[in-house]
């Protein structure tokens, strides 16, 4: 298996607080890796370090053998990393289709002269990708709706579709099940599993232990910024340090 993402001693300090503390791990092509940990463990910060939203205080991140830390988010995205956000960030005043098309446009390139004088090739390629992504999440019937007008659960899928329209090699999902009920969470788990089955490499942050343990091949556990476990779900489930972190057992 080829390694897609390598995180090496990633550290991020916010003033006196070390949100991510020397975390190292790798993600191979085609893997489905879960990241769990209590509130404030540093999961989102780790994602922001990978996608370039937060600069590292120390450490390195490589993607496809290229060093990506220190690069701007849009450059990292163009290398093939799509992401979603913990607190759902869509473009509310744009249609569902237009939301998704932005993901495709960002990857295929956008320039003024091309839009004015260019032919249809670029826009058709963008439209094709956007449609494919919408069909993947089953939102094609709502393509013309304003994103703000669709239900919360569907907006979650819209955000994922927008990342999929980028046709990324790695997709990182920050708590996609947050705010969903049990049925919706089960559906989402099945969807992510299918996505992975189709060959997508997925890095998934989740609070919902059941979801992560149920579908991930490997689970990375963070607590207070440190990695305390990195193994298969059934191993992590019995890990003393993990139980301690989750049950709050004091030494």
């Amino acid at each position: 298996m080829t390694t897609l993402l390598t995180i090496n001693g990633a550290t991020r300090r916010f003033g006196g607080l070390t949100a991510v503390d020397g975390v190292s791990t790798t993600v191979a092509k085609g893997e489905l890796v879960g990241v769990i940990g209590p509130n404030g463990a540093g999961k989102t910060t780790l994602f922001n370090l990978i996608s370039g939203f937060t600069p590292l205080s120390a450490g390195k991140v490589h993607f496809k053998g290229r060093r990506i830390d220190g690069q701007k988010p849009f450059r990292i995205a163009r290398l093939g990393i799509g992401r979603t956000f913990q607190n759902l960030r869509i473009f509310p005043n744009m249609s569902v289709f237009d939301n998704v098309s932005v993901g495709a446009a960002g990857m295929l390139g956008v320039n003024a002269a091309g839009a004015v004088f260019g032919g249809k090739a670029r826009s058709e390629a963008i439209s094709r990708r956007a449609w494919a992504a919408l069909e993947q999440v089953g939102l094609q019937g709502l393509a013309g709706e304003l994103a703000a007008n669709i239900s919360y659960g569907r907006r979650k899928y819209l955000e994922i579709a927008r990342a999929l329209a980028m046709e990324p090699e790695l997709i990182i999902l920050d708590e996609p099940a947050a705010g969903l009920n049990d049925t919706e969470t089960r559906e989402l788990a099945a969807f992510i599993k299918r996505l992975h089955g189709d060959g997508m490499t997925v890095l998934l942050v989740e609070h919902d232990m059941g979801l992560v343990m149920g579908i991930c091949e490997r689970v990375v556990v963070l607590a207070s910024g440190r990695k305390i476990a990195d193994a298969a779900p059934e191993v992590v489930r019995k890990d003393a340090a993990v139980l301690e972190a989750y049950l709050g057992v004091e030494e």
Binding site: S51, F53, K72, P73, F74, A77, R78, G82, R83, F85, R89, I90, F91, P92, N93, M94, S95, F97, D98, N99, S101, V102, G103, A105, G106, M107, V110, N111, A112, G114, A115, V116, K120, R122, S123, E124, I126, S127, R128, A130, W131, Q140, G141, L142, A143, G144, L146, R162, A163, M166
Partner: protein, 337 residues
């Protein structure tokens, strides 16, 4: 009606109206004042359309737009009066000059957000205005510049009111076509995504800073073009034409018409230029009426005369911006050319 035919008919209708009906009516009355009003209306349509791109679509609140209009006007006026260049040169150079100044302004200010950006553009507008007012050796200061020549193209004199109107109309229509292609395409969607959430757009692979600077420059370019049209048709320019109240007037056109809506910007400009002219017989009281119309229209139609959503819908239907999805499923008629 066939889907191929409809866009052609819409375009033909606009051309007949602007290049046929309006000049025929103007010709029937044949008063230079009416030509002047028609030119002014078209120039403000272009100004509103250019501000629509940066403020309505890209979401950058621009409070100094009139200054770029002024840069274009002064560039054209000085190139004509000092260097003897004709319209074929002054028009593009006015656009490029304004775009150049816009890029200079944009580089340091693009990282500012929302209200801070707006205040920065306010400051820039004010600075440029003061340059026009006080750089007397070049701009002639408050006395302004008389532009009596220059409206010639390939040796043809186009300065008669009727031909000048055609020049303004053709340049405005061509510019609107470009702005239409920009705002109603994947490019426009990319700009809209900056307005909605620029960090998020960044995560989609969009170079947000470059796009913002680009939209600012394009908007400045067309404001400059509008300036050249004004300089050559009004015959006289002075700093007051490009002061802060003018920026606010353009902003009002864009908002009343519908923020983010190109047809709205056009209609907003026509309303706010033509209404005061129509109301001329009632004297100074008309200003109060115009203010009242502004107030109530925004109260009753906060999204504008044609809001963004309906405008995009309209453009898609009338101009065939739709790219049909695979198959012909219901609701698949979305997407942009």
């Amino acid at each position: 009606m066939s889907d191929r035919l409809r866009p052609l008919l819409v375009v033909a209708a606009v051309l007949v109206l602007v290049l046929g009906v309006v000049p025929a009516v103007l010709g029937a009355f044949d008063r230079s004042y009416l030509y002047q009003v028609a030119n002014l209306a078209l120039i403000f349509v272009l100004l509103a359309a250019s501000m629509h791109l940066v403020t309505g679509v890209a979401g950058l609140l621009q409070l100094g737009h009139a200054a770029f209009y002024g840069v274009g006007a002064y560039t054209a006026a000085l190139l004509t009066t000092e260097a003897g260049l004709s319209f074929g040169w002054t028009l593009p150079l006015a656009g490029l000059g304004a775009a150049f100044v816009a890029v200079l302004v944009a580089l340091p200010t693009m990282r500012l957000v929302s209200i801070y950006f707006a205040v920065a553009t306010l400051g820039i507008g004010q600075m440029l205005y003061l340059v026009m007012l006080n750089w007397v050796p070049v701009t002639k200061g408050p006395n302004g510049i008389l532009v009596t020549s220059g409206l010639t193209l390939f040796g043809y004199d186009l300065s008669r009111p009727a031909s000048a109107y055609f020049v303004v109309a053709v340049v405005t229509l061509a510019s609107l076509w470009v702005i239409h292609r920009l705002s109603h395409s994947y490019y426009g969607n990319a700009l809209r995504s900056l307005r909605e959430d620029d960090q998020c757009a960044d995560a989609m692979g969009l170079d947000t800073v470059r796009l913002k600077i680009e939209s600012f420059a394009v908007s400045g370019f067309f404001a400059g073009i509008a300036g050249a049209l004004w300089a050559h048709t009004a015959g006289y320019i002075s700093p007051a034409d490009f002061s802060f109240p003018q920026s606010i007037l353009i902003l009002a056109m864009v908002v009343v018409g519908g923020l983010g809506s190109l047809p709205g910007a056009v209609i907003g400009a026509l309303v706010l230029i033509l209404l005061p002219e129509v109301l001329r017989p009632v004297g100074d009281f008309r200003n109060i009426i115009v203010g009242g119309v502004l107030f109530f229209s925004i109260l009753l139609m906060p999204k504008g005369i044609i809001g963004e959503v309906s405008a995009l819908d309209l453009v898609r239907r009338q101009l065939g911006g739709a790219w049909r999805g695979e198959g012909t499923k219901a609701g698949s008629e979305v997407g942009w050319r």
